[in-house]
């Protein structure tokens, strides 16, 4: 390990209207290390990295690269300094091809006229994807891919920059186990070749398997930096949230009641087989599967977002009109979508409007929204979910990623649903908030709600579910009762290696 750090950030201060995001934060990165940056949602991790990436300018503080003070005026300047950035929120040109996104802003050129060298671009892109083991067509339009695939493209892009400093802001949020493993192998080899890597994640297992040092932020302050063997997971959590968290998956024992939801022979447009399952009151049913297994598609059909090709969805014994999300919501079946940016956030609108959206009709008197009732509702959820926002009129766009997720969750909880479908509900959510959501799920089932939990984090599904359904290529391939939960067997069913009686 070289004596002098590659990057030194000293006393970085940055505030936004109503929020002091960073109040004098230090960070030191050394060549060849994977450095974890931890903290609750809104702690300031992304802001600190955006400053290093040239997106924001600090109000005070100093940045040194190789010991020399620098001003990083723009993302382009950061790239010139050898800093590559994988952003938390996918920010890509969806109309362009995968290859063009990987080479965005620096297409290879050839000849005296500096024509774009398409062959070289496709070759380079294929190579970059290959390195990650991602089977993605470099010529495909990016907009047609799922979040996971897009995440891989973003990573491939950053890798192909051959940077000396690589910032990874929750790169695995949309990835599943196998992909994460491949990514880690790449990250380790990069570190071995001397690249300094900042790794932000809310998944502690990842931190412990990948990182050498860790810096914890809380409320815009640096709590401390440690080498990873100096701290235990529980200590890290305590540093982040400022208190001890007891149980990771607080499973509440509820005796399931009568059948709440029944899905009969549901067939989706395009592909897959007929799917049948049911959910009872007070039950949490986990839905596991690999990326692209069709869990999201199935849930969208159940919730009436898409019209299924056939089959029926019955809630409390009565069929729901197919493809009618409004009717489903009115009857108490709601879906909290997985892609909060595209499917959840009303960009540019306030926290209040975002939160109350799905239950406005019940806030009306004489057709007019009762402003007082709306404010009350919003404030209740802001405090119950611990949403960090200066006030309820703040534009959601300005909230940290995790807090945006909580606003969307709040929108659906506010409708007092009977059956709640959570599609990757804890993606990008900090440990404290996760615990909060888990606790909430327990409370909700105790009140007789049924929950379908779609999650790519197997420990989470196993920790919380009463029953786990496994999907593979659009079909249910296995069902496990809580007593039978076993990581190995679930993975087998998910990869289609072994069929299990449904």
């Amino acid at each position: 390990m070289p004596a002098s750090p590659v990057v030194e950030m000293r006393g970085i201060v940055r505030s936004f209207p109503g929020v002091k995001a960073l109040s004098g934060v230090d960070l030191e990165l050394r060549a060849g290390e994977v450095h974890a940056l931890l903290g609750e949602n809104g702690a300031g991790k992304s802001t600190l990295m955006k400053i290093l990436g040239g997106l924001y300018h600090p109000e005070a503080g100093e940045i040194r690269i190789d010991g020399r003070p620098v001003r990083i005026e723009s993302p382009a300047a950061a790239t010139k300094l050898g800093i590559a950035f994988i952003h938390q929120e996918l920010n890509q040109a969806l109309h362009l091809s995968v290859a063009e996104n990987i080479f965005l802003g620096r297409p290879p050129v050839t000849g005296p006229l500096r024509r774009v060298d398409w062959r070289a671009m496709y070759r380079g892109a294929a190579a970059a994807l290959e390195r990650l083991g991602a089977e993605i067509d470099p010529r495909a339009a990016l907009g047609g891919l799922g979040v996971g695939a897009r995440q891989m493209v973003e990573i491939a892009r950053a890798l192909s920059l051959d940077a000396r400093v690589l910032i990874m802001d929750e790169p695995t949020a949309a990835l599943t186990g196998a992909e994460v493993e491949r990514l880690f192998a790449v990250v380790r080899s990069l570190a071995a070749s001397g690249v300094a890597i900042v790794y932000i994640s809310h998944r502690l297992e990842e931190i412990f398997s990948l990182c050498r040092r860790v810096t914890v932020l809380r409320d815009g302050h640096r709590v401390g930096s440690w080498t990873i063997d100096q701290v235990s997971p529980d200590e890290l959590i305590a540093h982040m949230v400022g208190r001890q968290l007891t149980e990771r998956f607080p499973k509440v024992a509820v005796t399931p009641g009568e059948t709440l939801l029944e899905v009969r022979d549901l067939t989706l447009r395009g592909a897959g087989g007929a799917v049948s399952f049911s959910v009872r009151r007070g039950e949490i049913v986990g839905l596991a599967g690999l990326m692209g297994a069709g869990r999201t598609e199935l849930m969208r059909a159940v919730a009436g977002i898409d019209r299924p090709a056939g089959g029926a969805v019955l809630l409390e014994g009565r069929p729901l009109p197919p493809g009618d999300a409004a009717a489903a919501i009115a009857r108490g079946l709601v879906l909290v979508p997985e892609d909060r940016r595209r499917q959840g956030l009303l960009t540019g609108r306030s926290v209040r409007e975002n939160l109350s959206l799905a239950r406005l009709r019940s806030l009306c008197r004489l057709g007019l929204i009762q402003a007082g009732a709306e404010r009350q509702l919003v404030d209740a959820y802001v405090s119950e979910l611990g949403i960090r926002t200066p006030h309820r009129e703040q534009s959601v766009t300005n909230l940290s990623g995790g807090n945006q997720q909580k606003v969307i969750l709040g929108r659906w909880l506010a409708t007092s649903p009977r059956l709640l479908i959570l599609d990757e509900p804890t993606r990008g959510i900090d440990v404290g908030a996760k615990a909060e959501i888990y606790r909430l799920m327990g409370e909700l089932v105790q009140r007789g709600m049924g929950i379908i939990l779609v999650s790519s984090e197997l420990p989470e599904v196993m920790g919380l579910s009463d029953r786990i359904l496994v999907m593979h290529e659009g079909r249910l391939t296995a069902e496990f009762g809580r007593a039978e939960f076993d990581q190995e067997r679930i993975m087998q069913a998910a990869t289609g290696r072994k069929r299990h009686a449904g």
């Binding site: 009115a330 979508p337 009303l346 609108r349 409007e353 799905a358």
Partner: protein
């Protein structure tokens, strides 16, 4: 703290208002005639037609759409109003028919856009051509005259000292403001404009909400047509040409984003005022007609730039 932010928001909303005030002061200094009650009423009456259309246009633009057909819809509604009324149809029926026609043309736009998935620009451009063609066919290229007196009221009447077009305009703005700020449908309009997919996930019938904004804009255009018919005491086949540009300019000057999801009708009212004051003021000052257009362009730029600076 919340109060501070809210006030700041209000100030931003009132941004272009500054332009109005500055223009008003300048004109008051330059022309004795500007700041008289009679001229102000005159000004508001002139503004009313564009303002009413722009009010509807605001809704469409809030969903991220645009409506180029407003001028043609106005002309066709006006022609049918005058044609029916001068042909002996009782005026309330003629009025109803004209308004229904406007709404129907708006519905046509809305359906083509939502069901046919055609870009609003193209769909309403087509409607613009079709409605204009039908107007010419219906009128034979000649004005229609011979209106019953009752139909002159919306254009030339008074309620007390206040001209009827002003009353109608204020009523339209009040209703639309109420709808946008205080009803679910209003919120849905913002939601669809901000993120249509998210709106659909929240069970909002995005297509119907979008179509509704076009229906209301068609209705507003027809209503503006009724006022114009009264004012001109006739229906003109060429009425409303290029009105879409003025209406869109009013909306955008008023701070509503063409990308949708952001803005409101109060801003639009101010935007329409800016345009009206410019016309009126330059006329009062007797600025040479050639320079008038230069001045209009420059003032629009300045007004918006000023808005950006704060």
């Amino acid at each position: 703290m919340q109060a501070r932010v809210q006030i700041k928001d209000r100030v931003r909303q009132m941004g272009p208002g500054l332009a109005v005030i500055i223009m008003g002061l300048a004109l008051a200094l330059l022309s004795r005639d500007f700041l008289t009650v009679s001229n102000l009423l005159n000004l508001l009456r002139q503004v009313s037609i564009n303002a009413i259309i722009a009010c509807g246009m605001t809704l469409v633009i809030l969903t991220g759409g645009i409506d180029l057909s407003v001028g043609s819809v106005l002309a066709l509604s006006s022609a049918v109003l005058a044609g029916l009324a001068s042909g002996g149809t009782p005026w309330p029926l003629a009025l109803l028919a004209a308004l229904a026609l406007g709404a129907a043309l708006g519905l046509f736009n809305g359906v083509v856009i939502t069901r046919g998935r055609i870009a609003p620009f193209v769909a309403t451009l087509a409607t613009m051509a079709i409605a204009r063609g039908l107007t010419l066919v219906y009128t034979g290229g000649r004005p229609i005259t011979g209106l019953p007196g009752a139909l002159r009221w919306p254009g030339t009447g008074y309620l007390g000292p206040v001209p009827a077009p002003i009353i109608i305009m204020v009523a339209v703005f009040a209703l639309v403001y109420l709808m946008l700020a205080h009803t679910p449908v209003g919120r849905f309009i913002y939601a669809v404009g901000s993120n249509e997919e998210a709106a659909r996930f929240a069970g909002i019938p995005a297509a119907r909400v979008t179509a509704l904004t076009y229906v209301l804009t068609g209705l507003a255009s027809a209503l503006a047509g009724v006022i114009l018919t009264g004012r001109l005491n006739s229906a003109q086949p060429t009425a409303g040409a290029a009105f879409e540009l003025d209406a869109i300019a009013a909306v955008v000057l008023g701070g509503t984003s063409l990308a949708g999801g952001q803005g409101g009708v109060l801003g639009t009212a101010v935007g329409a005022l800016i345009i009206g004051i410019l016309d009126n003021g330059l006329n009062l000052l007797g600025v040479s007609s050639f320079y008038q257009q230069v001045a209009q362009g420059a003032v629009i730029l300045l007004a918006v730039l000023m808005d950006r600076r704060r």
